[in-house]
C-alpha cells in the first residue's frame, strides 16, 4: 500500500511539474526589476473608470513585495487607455480575461504621454465588488491565495 501511495504521489508531482514547465515555456523572459521611485496612492486623485480588459500581465512594482497583477484597460466611452495596478495575490483568486468588462475606482498616479497609470482601490465585475485597498489607500489584499481551500463552516 505504501508503494502504491508513493506511485500516486509521484504521478501527482509529475503532472504538477509538467504544468509548471508549460508555464515557464509560455512565460518568456523574467519581468524587469522594480522601478526605483514607486508611485503612491493619493486619494485626492481618485477617478472611476468603466473599461474593457485588453491584456493582463505581472510586473514588479515595489521593493519588498511580490510582482503585481496589472491590467491594460480601454475606457468604454472615451477609448482612453489605462494601465491598472491591482495587487500581488489577487491573481490567484479571480480570473480575468481579455474582453471582460470591469469598473475600477483608483488613484491616477501619472498621466504622461503614453497610457495613464491607475492604482486600483475597488474593482467591480459581474456583480462582485472587491476592495483592493481601503479608503485611505492602504493595501487590503493580503490573505488572498491562502484563502484557497479554506474549510467550510456550514453544511
Amino acid at each position: 500500500m505504501e508503494l502504491r501511495l508513493g506511485r500516486k504521489m509521484t504521478a501527482a508531482a509529475l503532472v504538477f511539474a509538467a504544468a509548471t514547465a508549460l508555464a515557464a515555456a509560455q512565460s518568456g523572459p523574467p519581468a524587469e526589476k522594480p522601478r526605483t521611485t514607486p508611485p503612491f496612492y493619493d486619494v485626492k486623485k481618485e477617478i472611476r473608470i468603466d473599461g474593457v480588459v485588453q491584456a493582463v500581465h505581472f510586473e514588479p512594482r515595489y521593493e519588498g513585495t511580490a510582482a503585481f497583477l496589472m491590467l491594460d484597460l480601454k475606457e468604454r466611452t472615451t477609448n482612453d487607455r489605462y494601465v491598472v495596478e491591482i495587487s500581488p495575490g489577487w491573481f490567484f483568486t479571480h480570473d480575468l480575461h481579455r474582453g471582460e468588462r470591469v469598473n475600477i475606482l483608483g488613484s491616477l498616479v501619472s498621466a504622461g504621454d503614453s497610457d495613464s497609470v491607475l492604482i486600483a482601490r475597488e474593482v467591480r465585475l459581474q456583480g462582485e465588488v472587491v476592495q483592493v485597498r481601503d479608503a485611505r489607500g492602504f493595501p487590503n489584499w493580503r490573505g488572498g491565495p491562502k484563502q484557497l481551500g479554506k474549510r467550510k463552516r456550514v453544511g
Binding site: 504538477f16 508549460l22 512565460s27 491573481f91 480575461h97 476592495q131 481601503d134 453544511g155
Partner: protein
C-alpha cells in the same frame, strides 16, 4: 470560557506590540436549529473570534492566526485553534505565477471532545498561467498530514486539480476541472464481530459510537441514540480500507448579465476509485470539522447556481442553490435502533443560501442565511436545518501605503 478570554487577550496584546504589516480581527455570531445535523435537531449558537497577522517579506510572507469558537449550549465542543506558516508568491514571467504555502495548525477542544484535538501540516502549490489572453490554465497540489488525539482519525492526504477555462465575447466563461485525491488512514481499523463493549477511545468519539453520545451533548440531539453499534479496533495485518481514492470532473459556467449581475452554474461528478470509509458513520457538525466527513468520503453528483448582485451603496448580495446526491462507500444505512438496512448510505441534499456583504474599506459586515434539507436512506440523517450568521472583519494595516 475564562481560559479562552485569557488566550485571546494575550494574542491581541502580542499582536498589537509586534511590527506587523497587517492585522485582521474578525468576530461572528452564528446560530442554528440543528447543530449536529441529524433528525434530532438541537439548537445552539456559536460565537467566533479570530485574529490573523501577516508580514510581507518580498515574495515571502509570514502569517499566524488564532481563532476561538465558543458554543453556548454544547460548551464541550468549544475550541481554540492556532495556525502559522509561510507562503511564497513568484511571478514566472509576465503571464504566469506560482504560489506555495506551508501552514501548520493545531486545534484544541474542551475535555469532552478532546479526541478531536489535532495538529496538522498543509503544503499547497498552485500555478496559474495564461495559455492565451482569454484562456487560463490552473494546477493545484495539496498535501496534508493530520494527527489527532484519537489515533484512527490520523491521515495523510494528497490532492491534485487541473483546470482550464475559456472566455467568450458573449461575456461567458466556461471552465472544466479534473480533480484527483487520495486519503490514507495511517492506522487501519475494522469491526470486531460480536464485540459488545465499546472501547474507551471509541466511546468518546463518533467512531461507531453514536450510542455513546460522545458528541451528542444533552437531550435528544447529537449524533443520535442508536444502540447496537459495533465496536472498532485497530488491526495490524489488513491494509484494506486504509485509503480512499477519488476522481472528479467539474464544469462551470459564468455569465455576466449587465454591469451589476453575475450568474454562475457549476456541476460536479465524483467517483470513488478505491477504498471505503473505515468508520461506521460519517457526520457533520456546524462550525466544527469532523474528520469522518470530508471531500474524500463520498461519490456522486452535485450542481449549484449562484446569482451575484451589486446593490446600491456597494452592497453585495449572493443567492445560491446547491443540490448534491452522495453515497458513502463503506457506510451502511441503519434504522433508528441501529439495525443494518442492507444498503449503502445515500443522501440527497438541497441547500439555499443568501449572503449580504458591505465593505467599508477597513472593515466589512457580512450576514448569511442557509436552509438545508438533507434526505437520507439512513433515517438518523434525514434532517433539515437553518443556519444564520452575522459578523465583521476589521483590518489594521501597520505597513506602508
Amino acid at each position: 470560557m475564562k481560559r479562552f478570554r485569557i488566550v485571546f487577550s494575550v494574542l491581541v496584546l502580542a499582536a498589537s506590540y509586534s511590527a506587523a504589516d497587517t492585522l485582521s480581527l474578525s468576530f461572528s455570531h452564528n446560530a442554528t436549529d440543528n447543530l449536529f445535523q441529524t433528525r434530532f435537531a438541537e439548537a445552539d449558537a456559536v460565537t467566533a473570534a479570530g485574529l490573523t497577522w501577516e508580514k510581507a517579506l518580498s515574495e515571502f510572507s509570514l502569517l499566524a492566526g488564532a481563532e476561538g469558537f465558543f458554543l453556548h449550549e454544547n460548551t464541550g465542543m468549544s475550541l481554540v485553534s492556532f495556525s502559522g506558516g509561510v507562503d511564497y508568491l513568484k511571478s514566472l514571467g509576465e503571464k504566469s505565477a506560482l504560489y506555495v504555502s506551508l501552514i501548520g495548525d493545531t486545534s484544541l477542544y474542551r475535555a469532552e471532545y478532546s479526541d478531536f484535538n489535532r495538529t496538522g501540516l498543509r503544503f499547497m502549490a498552485a500555478l496559474k498561467t495564461y495559455l492565451s489572453p482569454s484562456s487560463i490554465l490552473k494546477a493545484t497540489a495539496v498535501s496534508e498530514y493530520r494527527s489527532y488525539r484519537y489515533d484512527p482519525f490520523d491521515f495523510f492526504s494528497q490532492s491534485l486539480s487541473l483546470s482550464i477555462d475559456q472566455y467568450f465575447p458573449s461575456r461567458t466563461t466556461l471552465q472544466a476541472e479534473f480533480g484527483w485525491g487520495y486519503k490514507y488512514f495511517i492506522h487501519p481499523q475494522t469491526v470486531i464481530a460480536g464485540e459488545s463493549e465499546i472501547p474507551a477511545a471509541a466511546a468518546t468519539s463518533s467512531l461507531g459510537s453514536a450510542v455513546a453520545m460522545g458528541y451528542g451533548g444533552k437531550g435528544q440531539g447529537g449524533s443520535g441514540e442508536r444502540p447496537g453499534w459495533e465496536a472498532y479496533a485497530p488491526v495490524s495485518a489488513s491494509a484494506e480500507g486504509k485509503g480512499l481514492q477519488t476522481a472528479s470532473l467539474q464544469a462551470r459556467l459564468g455569465q455576466g448579465l449587465g454591469d451589476r449581475v453575475g450568474l454562475r452554474l457549476a456541476g460536479i461528478v465524483q467517483w470513488n476509485l478505491s477504498g471505503v470509509n473505515p468508520f461506521t458513520t460519517v457526520d457533520e457538525y456546524m462550525m466544527v470539522e469532523n474528520p469522518t466527513y470530508d471531500a474524500f468520503a463520498w461519490e456522486g453528483t452535485g450542481w449549484n447556481a449562484q446569482l451575484s448582485l451589486l446593490l446600491p451603496w456597494n452592497i453585495e448580495a449572493r443567492l445560491g442553490y446547491n443540490r448534491t446526491d452522495k453515497s458513502f462507500p463503506g457506510i451502511e444505512s441503519r434504522d433508528l435502533l441501529g439495525n443494518a438496512l442492507g444498503s449503502i448510505r445515500e443522501d440527497g441534499r438541497d441547500q439555499v443560501d443568501v449572503k449580504v456583504e458591505k465593505n467599508f474599506g477597513r472593515w466589512s459586515l457580512v450576514l448569511t442565511y442557509a436552509f438545508i434539507r438533507n434526505r437520507s436512506n439512513d433515517p438518523l440523517f434525514d434532517w433539515s436545518g437553518r443556519f444564520i450568521s452575522g459578523g465583521f472583519q476589521w483590518n489594521f494595516d501597520l505597513g506602508e501605503k
